[in-house]
Protein backbone atom coordinates (compact mmCIF):
# COMPACT_ATOMS: atom_id res chain seq x y z
CA UNK A 1 0.00 0.00 0.00
CA UNK A 2 2.76 2.38 0.82
CA UNK A 3 6.14 3.18 -0.56
CA UNK A 4 7.42 4.15 2.86
CA UNK A 5 9.39 1.98 5.20
CA UNK A 6 6.92 0.35 7.54
CA UNK A 7 9.34 -1.93 9.39
CA UNK A 8 9.33 0.02 12.62
CA UNK A 9 5.66 0.84 12.46
CA UNK A 10 3.24 -1.39 14.30
CA UNK A 11 -0.14 -2.01 12.73
CA UNK A 12 -1.91 0.26 15.18
CA UNK A 13 0.35 3.24 14.64
CA UNK A 14 -1.47 5.60 12.37
CA UNK A 15 0.89 8.53 12.44
CA UNK A 16 4.62 8.25 12.60
CA UNK A 17 6.66 11.45 12.57
CA UNK A 18 10.43 11.61 12.64
CA UNK A 19 12.44 14.83 12.80
CA UNK A 20 9.77 17.07 11.36
CA UNK A 21 10.96 20.60 10.76
CA UNK A 22 9.27 23.54 9.14
CA UNK A 23 10.51 27.10 8.92
CA UNK A 24 8.65 30.28 8.07
CA UNK A 25 11.39 32.76 7.25
CA UNK A 26 13.10 33.34 10.59
CA UNK A 27 10.82 31.36 12.88
CA UNK A 28 10.85 27.62 13.35
CA UNK A 29 7.26 26.43 13.40
CA UNK A 30 8.39 22.85 13.90
CA UNK A 31 11.81 22.03 15.26
CA UNK A 32 12.87 18.42 14.81
CA UNK A 33 9.68 16.92 16.13
CA UNK A 34 9.15 13.17 16.47
CA UNK A 35 6.08 11.35 17.74
CA UNK A 36 3.81 8.36 17.17
CA UNK A 37 0.04 8.30 17.36
CA UNK A 38 -1.80 5.03 17.93
CA UNK A 39 -5.23 4.11 16.65
CA UNK A 40 -8.23 4.50 18.92
CA UNK A 41 -6.88 7.50 20.86
CA UNK A 42 -8.09 11.04 21.34
CA UNK A 43 -5.07 13.27 21.43
CA UNK A 44 -5.12 16.82 22.64
CA UNK A 45 -2.42 18.87 20.94
CA UNK A 46 -2.12 21.88 23.19
CA UNK A 47 0.16 24.86 22.87
CA UNK A 48 0.27 28.64 22.99
CA UNK A 49 -0.44 30.73 19.92
CA UNK A 50 2.28 30.32 17.35
CA UNK A 51 3.73 27.20 18.96
CA UNK A 52 3.38 25.11 15.80
CA UNK A 53 0.11 23.24 16.42
CA UNK A 54 -1.51 24.24 13.17
CA UNK A 55 1.69 23.61 11.24
CA UNK A 56 1.86 20.09 12.66
CA UNK A 57 -1.75 19.44 11.68
CA UNK A 58 -1.21 20.87 8.21
CA UNK A 59 1.77 18.61 7.72
CA UNK A 60 -0.38 15.61 8.69
CA UNK A 61 -3.10 16.72 6.26
CA UNK A 62 -0.75 17.30 3.35
CA UNK A 63 -1.41 21.03 3.38
CA UNK A 64 2.18 22.10 3.86
CA UNK A 65 5.65 21.09 2.89
CA UNK A 66 8.17 20.13 5.58
CA UNK A 67 11.49 18.47 6.22
CA UNK A 68 11.72 15.07 7.85
CA UNK A 69 9.74 11.89 7.63
CA UNK A 70 6.01 11.60 8.13
CA UNK A 71 3.74 8.68 7.50
CA UNK A 72 -0.01 8.97 8.00
CA UNK A 73 -1.88 5.68 7.58
CA UNK A 74 1.20 4.52 5.72
CA UNK A 75 1.08 7.35 3.20
CA UNK A 76 3.26 10.39 2.72
CA UNK A 77 0.83 13.31 2.98
CA UNK A 78 2.95 15.49 0.71
CA UNK A 79 2.46 13.24 -2.26
CA UNK A 80 -0.72 11.29 -1.44
CA UNK A 81 -3.15 13.90 -0.15
CA UNK A 82 -6.13 12.79 -2.30
CA UNK A 83 -5.77 9.14 -1.30
CA UNK A 84 -5.18 10.13 2.32
CA UNK A 85 -8.33 12.23 2.43
CA UNK A 86 -10.41 9.11 1.88
CA UNK A 87 -9.36 8.06 5.37
CA UNK A 88 -8.84 11.39 7.07
CA UNK A 89 -11.37 14.07 7.91
CA UNK A 90 -10.62 17.57 8.91
CA UNK A 91 -12.47 20.45 10.50
CA UNK A 92 -10.58 23.69 10.77
CA UNK A 93 -12.35 26.48 12.56
CA UNK A 94 -15.91 27.30 11.64
CA UNK A 95 -15.16 29.64 8.78
CA UNK A 96 -14.06 27.16 6.14
CA UNK A 97 -17.31 25.95 4.61
CA UNK A 98 -17.81 27.98 1.40
CA UNK A 99 -20.38 30.64 2.14
CA UNK A 100 -22.21 30.38 -1.19
CA UNK A 101 -22.96 26.67 -0.98
CA UNK A 102 -26.39 25.33 -0.09
CA UNK A 103 -26.74 22.55 2.47
CA UNK A 104 -28.08 20.08 -0.09
CA UNK A 105 -25.30 20.97 -2.54
CA UNK A 106 -22.66 20.40 0.13
CA UNK A 107 -24.18 16.99 0.89
CA UNK A 108 -24.43 16.08 -2.80
CA UNK A 109 -20.84 17.12 -3.41
CA UNK A 110 -19.31 15.24 -0.49
CA UNK A 111 -21.39 12.16 -1.20
CA UNK A 112 -20.25 12.28 -4.81
CA UNK A 113 -16.53 12.66 -4.22
CA UNK A 114 -16.16 10.68 -1.01
CA UNK A 115 -16.41 6.90 -1.23
CA UNK A 116 -16.91 6.48 2.53
CA UNK A 117 -19.64 9.08 3.01
CA UNK A 118 -23.15 8.02 4.08
CA UNK A 119 -25.78 10.50 2.97
CA UNK A 120 -28.30 8.80 5.24
CA UNK A 121 -26.17 9.29 8.32
CA UNK A 122 -25.53 12.92 7.44
CA UNK A 123 -29.21 13.66 6.97
CA UNK A 124 -30.02 11.87 10.22
CA UNK A 125 -27.58 14.12 12.10
CA UNK A 126 -29.10 17.19 10.53
CA UNK A 127 -32.67 16.31 11.51
CA UNK A 128 -31.74 17.18 15.09
CA UNK A 129 -30.81 20.70 14.03
CA UNK A 130 -32.60 23.70 12.57
CA UNK A 131 -30.59 23.40 9.35
CA UNK A 132 -32.74 22.99 6.21
CA UNK A 133 -31.48 21.60 2.88
CA UNK A 134 -32.20 24.78 0.93
CA UNK A 135 -30.22 27.07 3.23
CA UNK A 136 -26.97 28.65 2.17
CA UNK A 137 -24.00 28.52 4.53
CA UNK A 138 -23.95 32.32 4.72
CA UNK A 139 -27.46 32.27 6.17
CA UNK A 140 -26.40 29.97 9.00
CA UNK A 141 -25.07 31.06 12.38
CA UNK A 142 -21.55 30.07 13.38
CA UNK A 143 -22.94 27.33 15.57
CA UNK A 144 -25.09 25.95 12.77
CA UNK A 145 -22.15 25.99 10.35
CA UNK A 146 -20.17 23.85 12.74
CA UNK A 147 -23.16 21.51 13.16
CA UNK A 148 -23.31 21.14 9.39
CA UNK A 149 -19.58 20.54 9.07
CA UNK A 150 -19.70 18.02 11.89
CA UNK A 151 -22.65 16.23 10.27
CA UNK A 152 -20.72 16.02 6.98
CA UNK A 153 -17.63 14.70 8.72
CA UNK A 154 -19.33 12.26 11.08
CA UNK A 155 -21.08 10.67 8.11
CA UNK A 156 -17.66 9.71 6.74
CA UNK A 157 -16.27 6.45 8.00
CA UNK A 158 -12.72 7.72 8.34
CA UNK A 159 -9.80 6.44 10.41
CA UNK A 160 -8.49 9.81 11.52
CA UNK A 161 -10.30 13.01 12.38
CA UNK A 162 -8.31 16.20 12.77
CA UNK A 163 -9.92 19.12 14.56
CA UNK A 164 -8.16 22.47 14.59
CA UNK A 165 -9.91 24.81 17.03
CA UNK A 166 -13.25 23.38 15.92
CA UNK A 167 -15.33 25.30 18.43
CA UNK A 168 -13.66 28.69 18.18
CA UNK A 169 -16.14 31.49 18.65
CA UNK A 170 -19.07 29.22 19.59
CA UNK A 171 -21.20 29.58 22.69
CA UNK A 172 -21.03 27.00 25.43
CA UNK A 173 -24.18 25.14 24.29
CA UNK A 174 -22.75 24.45 20.85
CA UNK A 175 -19.32 23.62 22.29
CA UNK A 176 -20.79 21.07 24.70
CA UNK A 177 -22.98 19.39 22.13
CA UNK A 178 -20.10 19.32 19.64
CA UNK A 179 -17.92 17.16 21.85
CA UNK A 180 -20.86 15.14 23.13
CA UNK A 181 -21.91 14.10 19.62
CA UNK A 182 -18.33 13.31 18.73
CA UNK A 183 -18.05 10.91 21.63
CA UNK A 184 -21.53 9.43 21.47
CA UNK A 185 -22.09 9.10 17.73
CA UNK A 186 -18.67 8.97 16.16
CA UNK A 187 -15.72 7.84 18.19
CA UNK A 188 -14.84 4.16 18.54
CA UNK A 189 -11.73 2.04 18.90
CA UNK A 190 -11.04 2.14 15.15
CA UNK A 191 -10.99 5.88 15.00
CA UNK A 192 -8.47 8.41 16.13
CA UNK A 193 -9.08 12.05 16.87
CA UNK A 194 -6.49 14.80 17.13
CA UNK A 195 -7.80 18.05 18.53
CA UNK A 196 -6.22 21.40 19.18
CA UNK A 197 -8.05 23.94 21.26
CA UNK A 198 -7.54 26.71 23.75
CA UNK A 199 -10.58 25.65 25.70
CA UNK A 200 -8.63 22.92 27.45
CA UNK A 201 -11.14 22.41 30.26
CA UNK A 202 -13.81 21.39 27.79
CA UNK A 203 -11.85 18.59 26.15
CA UNK A 204 -9.88 17.43 29.16
CA UNK A 205 -12.32 14.69 30.13
CA UNK A 206 -12.48 13.18 26.64
CA UNK A 207 -8.74 13.04 25.93
CA UNK A 208 -6.77 9.82 26.21
CA UNK A 209 -3.44 11.44 25.34
CA UNK A 210 -1.89 14.80 25.83
CA UNK A 211 0.76 16.55 23.77
CA UNK A 212 2.14 19.92 24.69
CA UNK A 213 3.93 21.86 22.03
CA UNK A 214 6.04 24.94 22.62
CA UNK A 215 8.27 26.86 20.23
CA UNK A 216 8.00 24.10 17.65
CA UNK A 217 9.04 21.36 20.07
CA UNK A 218 7.00 18.73 21.85
CA UNK A 219 7.50 19.27 25.56
CA UNK A 220 5.05 16.69 26.83
CA UNK A 221 3.79 13.52 25.14
CA UNK A 222 1.95 11.22 27.50
CA UNK A 223 -1.27 9.34 28.07
CA UNK A 224 -3.70 10.90 30.52
CA UNK A 225 -2.98 8.03 32.92
CA UNK A 226 0.73 8.76 32.79
CA UNK A 227 -0.01 12.43 33.38
CA UNK A 228 -2.00 11.47 36.47
CA UNK A 229 0.87 9.34 37.79
CA UNK A 230 3.59 11.83 37.04
CA UNK A 231 2.09 15.13 38.13
CA UNK A 232 0.53 15.96 41.43
CA UNK A 233 -0.89 19.06 42.99
CA UNK A 234 -0.67 19.68 46.73
CA UNK A 235 -2.56 22.24 48.76
CA UNK A 236 -0.20 23.37 51.51
CA UNK A 237 -0.72 25.51 54.64
CA UNK A 238 1.59 28.52 54.94
CA UNK A 239 3.68 26.86 57.72
CA UNK A 240 4.75 24.03 55.40
CA UNK A 241 5.18 26.15 52.28
CA UNK A 242 8.98 26.33 52.58
CA UNK A 243 9.20 22.54 52.86
CA UNK A 244 7.19 22.28 49.65
CA UNK A 245 9.39 24.80 47.85
CA UNK A 246 12.43 22.72 48.83
CA UNK A 247 11.02 19.87 46.67
CA UNK A 248 11.32 22.07 43.56
CA UNK A 249 7.71 22.42 42.40
CA UNK A 250 6.93 23.33 38.81
CA UNK A 251 4.69 26.13 39.94
CA UNK A 252 3.13 27.78 42.92
CA UNK A 253 -0.07 29.75 43.28
CA UNK A 254 -2.12 31.09 46.16
CA UNK A 255 -5.75 30.39 46.97
CA UNK A 256 -7.56 31.34 50.25
CA UNK A 257 -4.30 31.85 52.09
CA UNK A 258 -3.00 28.42 51.09
CA UNK A 259 -0.39 27.64 48.47
CA UNK A 260 -0.97 25.17 45.69
CA UNK A 261 2.19 23.51 44.37
CA UNK A 262 2.44 21.49 41.20
CA UNK A 263 5.06 18.73 41.20
CA UNK A 264 6.51 16.64 38.44
CA UNK A 265 7.51 13.16 39.48
CA UNK A 266 7.91 13.91 43.21
CA UNK A 267 7.53 11.21 45.83
CA UNK A 268 3.80 10.85 46.65
CA UNK A 269 4.38 9.92 50.29
CA UNK A 270 6.41 13.03 50.98
CA UNK A 271 3.85 15.18 49.14
CA UNK A 272 0.98 13.68 51.12
CA UNK A 273 2.72 14.76 54.32
CA UNK A 274 2.60 18.37 53.13
CA UNK A 275 -1.12 18.56 52.49
CA UNK A 276 -4.03 17.42 50.38
CA UNK A 277 -3.08 15.73 47.04
CA UNK A 278 -4.96 16.37 43.79
CA UNK A 279 -4.69 15.41 40.18
CA UNK A 280 -3.78 18.65 38.42
CA UNK A 281 -6.06 19.97 35.73
CA UNK A 282 -4.65 20.08 32.20
CA UNK A 283 -5.10 23.84 32.24
CA UNK A 284 -2.93 24.25 35.36
CA UNK A 285 -0.37 21.85 33.98
CA UNK A 286 -0.34 23.79 30.74
CA UNK A 287 0.16 27.12 32.46
CA UNK A 288 3.00 25.68 34.58
CA UNK A 289 4.70 24.10 31.56
CA UNK A 290 4.41 27.13 29.34
CA UNK A 291 5.64 29.60 31.94
CA UNK A 292 7.54 32.43 30.30
CA UNK A 293 6.34 31.68 26.74
CA UNK A 294 5.35 35.23 25.97
CA UNK A 295 7.96 36.86 28.23
Amino acid sequence: MSVMDMSTTTTSTIIRARNLSKRYDATKALDNVSFDIEAGRIIGLIGPNGAGKTTALKAILGLTDFEGELSVLGLDPRTHRPALMEQVCFIADVAVLPRWIRVREAIEFVSGVHPRFSRQKCEAFLTHTKIAPGMRVRELSKGMIVQLHLALVMAIDAKLLVLDEPTLGLDILYRKSFYESLLADYFDENKTIIVTTHQVEEVEHILTDLMFIRDGRIVLDATMDQVGERYAEVMVNPDKADDARALKPLSERQIFGKSIFLFDGADRVRLAALGELHKPSVADLFVATMKGTYA
Partner: protein
Protein backbone atom coordinates in the same frame (compact mmCIF):
# COMPACT_ATOMS: atom_id res chain seq x y z
CA UNK B 1 -14.67 7.34 -8.46
CA UNK B 2 -15.44 9.67 -11.33
CA UNK B 3 -15.63 13.06 -9.73
CA UNK B 4 -15.39 15.26 -12.81
CA UNK B 5 -19.16 15.73 -13.45
CA UNK B 6 -19.60 16.71 -9.83
CA UNK B 7 -16.69 19.15 -9.96
CA UNK B 8 -18.27 20.79 -13.00
CA UNK B 9 -21.58 20.94 -11.16
CA UNK B 10 -19.84 22.55 -8.20
CA UNK B 11 -18.53 25.34 -10.44
CA UNK B 12 -21.99 25.81 -11.88
CA UNK B 13 -23.54 26.05 -8.40
CA UNK B 14 -21.04 28.68 -7.39
CA UNK B 15 -21.22 30.71 -10.60
CA UNK B 16 -24.80 30.22 -11.72
CA UNK B 17 -25.19 34.00 -11.77
CA UNK B 18 -22.44 34.48 -14.32
CA UNK B 19 -22.86 31.36 -16.42
CA UNK B 20 -26.65 31.19 -16.65
CA UNK B 21 -28.23 34.46 -15.59
CA UNK B 22 -25.86 36.77 -17.46
CA UNK B 23 -26.77 35.36 -20.91
CA UNK B 24 -30.41 35.12 -19.83
CA UNK B 25 -30.45 38.81 -18.94
CA UNK B 26 -28.59 39.87 -22.07
CA UNK B 27 -30.82 37.94 -24.46
CA UNK B 28 -33.82 38.98 -22.37
CA UNK B 29 -32.94 42.62 -22.97
CA UNK B 30 -32.61 41.99 -26.72
CA UNK B 31 -36.03 40.32 -26.79
CA UNK B 32 -37.49 43.12 -24.71
CA UNK B 33 -36.12 45.70 -27.15
CA UNK B 34 -37.59 43.66 -30.01
CA UNK B 35 -41.03 43.73 -28.43
CA UNK B 36 -40.62 47.39 -27.50
CA UNK B 37 -39.77 48.16 -31.13
CA UNK B 38 -42.86 46.32 -32.35
CA UNK B 39 -45.08 48.15 -29.87
CA UNK B 40 -43.54 51.50 -30.82
CA UNK B 41 -44.18 50.81 -34.48
CA UNK B 42 -47.78 49.83 -33.77
CA UNK B 43 -48.50 52.81 -31.54
CA UNK B 44 -46.94 55.40 -33.84
CA UNK B 45 -48.71 53.95 -36.83
CA UNK B 46 -52.14 53.94 -35.21
CA UNK B 47 -51.70 57.44 -33.71
CA UNK B 48 -50.42 59.38 -36.64
CA UNK B 49 -51.09 57.11 -39.54
CA UNK B 50 -47.46 57.75 -40.37
CA UNK B 51 -45.48 55.06 -42.07
CA UNK B 52 -42.56 54.13 -39.92
CA UNK B 53 -39.76 52.82 -42.06
CA UNK B 54 -41.70 50.37 -44.16
CA UNK B 55 -45.24 49.17 -44.03
CA UNK B 56 -45.78 45.48 -43.56
CA UNK B 57 -49.15 45.82 -45.24
CA UNK B 58 -47.66 47.21 -48.40
CA UNK B 59 -45.06 44.47 -48.42
CA UNK B 60 -47.69 41.79 -48.51
CA UNK B 61 -48.62 42.48 -52.11
CA UNK B 62 -45.33 42.59 -53.93
CA UNK B 63 -43.22 40.05 -52.08
CA UNK B 64 -41.29 37.58 -54.17
CA UNK B 65 -39.34 34.39 -53.61
CA UNK B 66 -36.13 36.34 -53.97
CA UNK B 67 -37.18 38.65 -51.16
CA UNK B 68 -37.86 35.64 -48.98
CA UNK B 69 -34.39 34.34 -49.68
CA UNK B 70 -32.94 37.69 -48.67
CA UNK B 71 -35.10 37.70 -45.56
CA UNK B 72 -33.86 34.19 -44.82
CA UNK B 73 -30.27 35.39 -45.02
CA UNK B 74 -31.25 38.27 -42.74
CA UNK B 75 -32.61 35.80 -40.22
CA UNK B 76 -29.34 33.88 -40.36
CA UNK B 77 -27.60 37.12 -39.44
CA UNK B 78 -30.04 37.68 -36.59
CA UNK B 79 -29.30 34.18 -35.31
CA UNK B 80 -25.61 34.98 -35.45
CA UNK B 81 -26.13 38.24 -33.59
CA UNK B 82 -28.21 36.45 -30.94
CA UNK B 83 -25.33 34.13 -30.19
CA UNK B 84 -22.63 36.80 -30.55
CA UNK B 85 -23.94 39.47 -28.18
CA UNK B 86 -24.02 37.21 -25.08
CA UNK B 87 -20.39 36.42 -25.91
CA UNK B 88 -19.42 39.91 -24.80
CA UNK B 89 -20.95 39.16 -21.41
CA UNK B 90 -19.34 35.73 -21.46
CA UNK B 91 -15.93 37.33 -21.92
CA UNK B 92 -16.23 39.37 -18.73
CA UNK B 93 -17.78 36.50 -16.81
CA UNK B 94 -14.97 34.12 -17.82
CA UNK B 95 -12.23 36.67 -17.25
CA UNK B 96 -13.22 37.27 -13.64
CA UNK B 97 -14.18 33.65 -13.08
CA UNK B 98 -10.68 32.53 -14.04
CA UNK B 99 -9.02 35.28 -12.05
CA UNK B 100 -10.89 34.17 -8.92
CA UNK B 101 -10.95 30.44 -9.63
CA UNK B 102 -7.94 29.53 -7.48
CA UNK B 103 -7.87 32.67 -5.37
CA UNK B 104 -11.31 33.31 -3.87
CA UNK B 105 -11.39 30.05 -1.93
CA UNK B 106 -7.92 30.73 -0.57
CA UNK B 107 -8.95 34.19 0.53
CA UNK B 108 -12.04 33.01 2.42
CA UNK B 109 -10.21 29.83 3.57
CA UNK B 110 -12.85 27.49 2.12
CA UNK B 111 -9.91 25.92 0.29
CA UNK B 112 -9.34 24.05 3.57
CA UNK B 113 -12.73 22.42 3.11
CA UNK B 114 -12.14 21.51 -0.55
CA UNK B 115 -8.72 20.16 0.33
CA UNK B 116 -10.19 17.99 3.06
CA UNK B 117 -11.90 15.92 0.39
CA UNK B 118 -10.28 13.22 -1.74
CA UNK B 119 -10.02 15.35 -4.88
CA UNK B 120 -6.65 15.97 -6.48
CA UNK B 121 -5.45 19.43 -7.45
CA UNK B 122 -5.18 18.22 -11.04
CA UNK B 123 -8.88 17.27 -11.12
CA UNK B 124 -9.88 20.56 -9.53
CA UNK B 125 -7.95 22.64 -12.03
CA UNK B 126 -8.98 20.50 -14.98
CA UNK B 127 -12.62 20.98 -14.02
CA UNK B 128 -12.23 24.74 -13.76
CA UNK B 129 -10.47 24.96 -17.11
CA UNK B 130 -13.17 22.79 -18.73
CA UNK B 131 -15.84 25.07 -17.32
CA UNK B 132 -14.22 28.07 -18.99
CA UNK B 133 -13.53 26.17 -22.22
CA UNK B 134 -16.80 24.35 -22.73
CA UNK B 135 -19.44 24.44 -20.01
CA UNK B 136 -19.96 28.21 -19.77
CA UNK B 137 -19.89 28.76 -23.57
CA UNK B 138 -22.34 25.87 -24.07
CA UNK B 139 -24.74 27.30 -21.51
CA UNK B 140 -24.54 30.73 -23.16
CA UNK B 141 -25.09 29.14 -26.56
CA UNK B 142 -28.10 27.17 -25.34
CA UNK B 143 -29.62 30.33 -23.86
CA UNK B 144 -29.05 32.37 -27.01
CA UNK B 145 -30.48 29.59 -29.20
CA UNK B 146 -33.64 29.50 -27.09
CA UNK B 147 -33.81 33.29 -27.22
CA UNK B 148 -33.59 33.16 -31.02
CA UNK B 149 -36.49 30.70 -31.09
CA UNK B 150 -38.51 33.09 -28.93
CA UNK B 151 -37.57 35.86 -31.35
CA UNK B 152 -38.87 33.82 -34.30
CA UNK B 153 -42.16 33.24 -32.49
CA UNK B 154 -42.47 36.96 -31.69
CA UNK B 155 -41.79 37.97 -35.29
CA UNK B 156 -44.18 35.33 -36.66
CA UNK B 157 -46.96 36.50 -34.38
CA UNK B 158 -46.36 40.16 -35.14
CA UNK B 159 -46.25 39.72 -38.90
CA UNK B 160 -49.25 37.39 -38.77
CA UNK B 161 -51.18 40.23 -37.13
CA UNK B 162 -50.57 42.09 -40.35
CA UNK B 163 -51.61 39.18 -42.47
CA UNK B 164 -48.08 38.35 -43.50
CA UNK B 165 -46.82 34.80 -43.37
CA UNK B 166 -43.19 34.79 -42.27
CA UNK B 167 -42.77 31.03 -42.54
CA UNK B 168 -41.34 31.10 -46.09
CA UNK B 169 -38.62 33.44 -44.83
CA UNK B 170 -37.87 31.11 -41.93
CA UNK B 171 -37.86 28.23 -44.37
CA UNK B 172 -35.40 30.15 -46.51
CA UNK B 173 -33.09 30.66 -43.51
CA UNK B 174 -30.82 27.94 -42.14
CA UNK B 175 -31.50 27.65 -38.41
CA UNK B 176 -30.13 24.12 -38.09
CA UNK B 177 -27.14 24.78 -40.31
CA UNK B 178 -26.36 27.91 -38.31
CA UNK B 179 -26.87 26.03 -35.05
CA UNK B 180 -24.26 23.46 -35.99
CA UNK B 181 -21.87 26.02 -37.42
CA UNK B 182 -22.02 28.14 -34.28
CA UNK B 183 -21.81 25.10 -32.03
CA UNK B 184 -18.71 23.92 -33.88
CA UNK B 185 -16.93 27.21 -33.19
CA UNK B 186 -16.99 26.42 -29.46
CA UNK B 187 -14.16 23.82 -29.55
CA UNK B 188 -12.05 26.23 -31.60
CA UNK B 189 -12.82 29.03 -29.11
CA UNK B 190 -11.82 26.64 -26.32
CA UNK B 191 -8.43 25.79 -27.81
CA UNK B 192 -7.80 29.41 -28.74
CA UNK B 193 -8.66 30.55 -25.18
CA UNK B 194 -6.15 28.23 -23.48
CA UNK B 195 -3.31 30.77 -23.07
CA UNK B 196 -5.65 33.20 -21.32
CA UNK B 197 -7.19 30.43 -19.23
CA UNK B 198 -3.72 29.28 -18.19
CA UNK B 199 -2.42 32.78 -17.59
CA UNK B 200 -5.33 33.91 -15.41
CA UNK B 201 -5.45 30.67 -13.43
CA UNK B 202 -1.71 30.73 -12.91
CA UNK B 203 -1.89 34.14 -11.24
CA UNK B 204 -5.04 33.14 -9.44
CA UNK B 205 -3.09 30.29 -7.85
CA UNK B 206 0.02 32.39 -7.27
CA UNK B 207 -1.04 35.65 -5.64
CA UNK B 208 -1.62 36.38 -1.99
CA UNK B 209 -3.76 39.37 -2.95
CA UNK B 210 -4.95 41.41 -5.92
CA UNK B 211 -4.89 38.85 -8.75
CA UNK B 212 -6.12 41.48 -11.23
CA UNK B 213 -3.11 43.64 -10.61
CA UNK B 214 -0.67 40.79 -11.16
CA UNK B 215 -2.38 39.29 -14.18
CA UNK B 216 -3.11 42.54 -15.98
CA UNK B 217 -0.83 45.28 -14.76
CA UNK B 218 2.32 43.18 -14.63
CA UNK B 219 2.42 42.36 -18.35
CA UNK B 220 1.50 45.94 -19.25
CA UNK B 221 4.28 47.22 -17.03
CA UNK B 222 6.69 44.74 -18.63
CA UNK B 223 5.62 45.84 -22.09
CA UNK B 224 6.05 49.49 -21.17
CA UNK B 225 9.45 48.87 -19.54
CA UNK B 226 10.60 47.02 -22.66
CA UNK B 227 9.49 49.88 -24.89
CA UNK B 228 11.15 52.42 -22.60
CA UNK B 229 14.47 50.54 -22.52
CA UNK B 230 14.26 50.45 -26.29
CA UNK B 231 13.78 54.20 -26.47
CA UNK B 232 16.79 54.67 -24.20
CA UNK B 233 18.78 52.42 -26.48
CA UNK B 234 19.22 49.81 -23.75
CA UNK B 235 18.71 46.05 -23.98
CA UNK B 236 15.15 45.16 -24.93
CA UNK B 237 13.16 42.64 -26.90
CA UNK B 238 12.74 43.90 -30.41
CA UNK B 239 9.29 44.68 -31.66
CA UNK B 240 9.63 41.90 -34.24
CA UNK B 241 8.37 39.54 -31.55
CA UNK B 242 4.85 41.06 -31.63
CA UNK B 243 4.78 41.56 -27.88
CA UNK B 244 1.44 43.36 -27.96
CA UNK B 245 -0.08 40.42 -29.80
CA UNK B 246 1.29 38.02 -27.21
CA UNK B 247 -0.18 40.21 -24.50
CA UNK B 248 -3.56 40.14 -26.23
CA UNK B 249 -3.37 36.36 -26.46
CA UNK B 250 -2.66 36.13 -22.73
CA UNK B 251 -5.45 38.45 -21.67
CA UNK B 252 -8.17 38.50 -24.30
CA UNK B 253 -8.31 35.06 -25.89
CA UNK B 254 -11.31 34.01 -23.83
CA UNK B 255 -13.38 36.31 -26.05
CA UNK B 256 -15.26 33.84 -28.25
CA UNK B 257 -14.34 34.25 -31.88
CA UNK B 258 -11.27 36.36 -31.14
CA UNK B 259 -9.31 34.13 -33.55
CA UNK B 260 -11.42 35.62 -36.32
CA UNK B 261 -9.17 38.39 -37.50
CA UNK B 262 -8.38 39.24 -41.07
CA UNK B 263 -5.31 37.07 -41.05
CA UNK B 264 -7.34 33.90 -41.13
CA UNK B 265 -9.56 35.29 -43.86
CA UNK B 266 -12.58 34.86 -41.65
CA UNK B 267 -14.38 38.15 -42.07
CA UNK B 268 -12.57 41.44 -41.81
CA UNK B 269 -13.16 44.67 -39.89
CA UNK B 270 -14.60 46.24 -43.04
CA UNK B 271 -16.89 43.30 -43.52
CA UNK B 272 -18.27 43.64 -40.02
CA UNK B 273 -19.20 47.29 -40.40
CA UNK B 274 -21.15 46.75 -43.56
CA UNK B 275 -21.86 43.06 -43.47
CA UNK B 276 -22.76 41.08 -46.50
CA UNK B 277 -24.84 38.52 -44.68
CA UNK B 278 -24.15 35.73 -47.11
CA UNK B 279 -20.42 36.23 -46.84
CA UNK B 280 -20.47 36.54 -43.04
CA UNK B 281 -22.59 33.44 -42.61
CA UNK B 282 -20.39 31.67 -45.14
CA UNK B 283 -17.31 32.45 -43.08
CA UNK B 284 -18.74 30.23 -40.34
CA UNK B 285 -18.41 27.24 -42.58
CA UNK B 286 -16.64 24.57 -40.50
CA UNK B 287 -13.99 24.01 -43.15
CA UNK B 288 -13.22 27.71 -42.87
CA UNK B 289 -13.35 27.84 -39.08
CA UNK B 290 -11.23 24.75 -38.62
CA UNK B 291 -8.53 26.11 -40.88
CA UNK B 292 -7.46 27.99 -37.72
CA UNK B 293 -6.28 24.62 -36.44
CA UNK B 294 -3.64 24.66 -39.14
CA UNK B 295 -2.03 27.83 -37.80
CA UNK B 296 0.99 27.73 -35.49
CA UNK B 297 -0.51 30.62 -33.46
CA UNK B 298 -3.22 28.36 -32.16
CA UNK B 299 -0.94 25.49 -31.20
CA UNK B 300 1.75 27.67 -29.64
CA UNK B 301 -1.07 29.11 -27.53
CA UNK B 302 -2.30 25.64 -26.58
CA UNK B 303 1.17 24.59 -25.46
CA UNK B 304 1.69 27.81 -23.50
CA UNK B 305 -1.75 27.49 -21.92
CA UNK B 306 -1.17 23.90 -20.84
CA UNK B 307 2.23 24.84 -19.40
CA UNK B 308 0.63 27.65 -17.39
CA UNK B 309 -2.09 25.28 -16.17
CA UNK B 310 0.65 22.87 -15.10
CA UNK B 311 2.19 25.73 -13.14
CA UNK B 312 -1.19 26.46 -11.57
CA UNK B 313 -1.52 22.82 -10.48
CA UNK B 314 1.95 22.92 -8.94
CA UNK B 315 1.16 26.16 -7.09
CA UNK B 316 -2.20 24.85 -5.91
CA UNK B 317 -0.39 22.18 -3.95
CA UNK B 318 1.84 24.70 -2.20
CA UNK B 319 0.06 28.02 -1.82
CA UNK B 320 -2.92 27.21 0.25
CA UNK B 321 -3.85 30.10 2.45
CA UNK B 322 -3.28 33.70 1.48
CA UNK B 323 -1.98 34.77 4.86
CA UNK B 324 0.80 32.20 5.29
Amino acid sequence: MNTLPLLLKREYWEHRGGFLWTPVWITGVILFLTVAGMITAEVLRSHAQVQVGFSLDSLRNDISAKDFAAAGNGLDMVQLVFSAIPCIGLFFVLFFYLLGALYDDRRDRSVLFWKSLPVSDTSTITSKALVAMLLAPLIAFAVSTLAYLVFLVLVSVWTAMHGLNVLPAIAASHPFGMFWRLLLTIPVDALWALPTIGWLMFWSAYVRSKPFLWAVMLPFAALFANWWFGVLGGPHISSDLRLAEILARLLLSVMPGSWMNGKFGVGSPKGWVNPDSEQVVGSFDPSHVYSVLATPDLWIGVVAGLALLGGAIWLRGRRIETNV
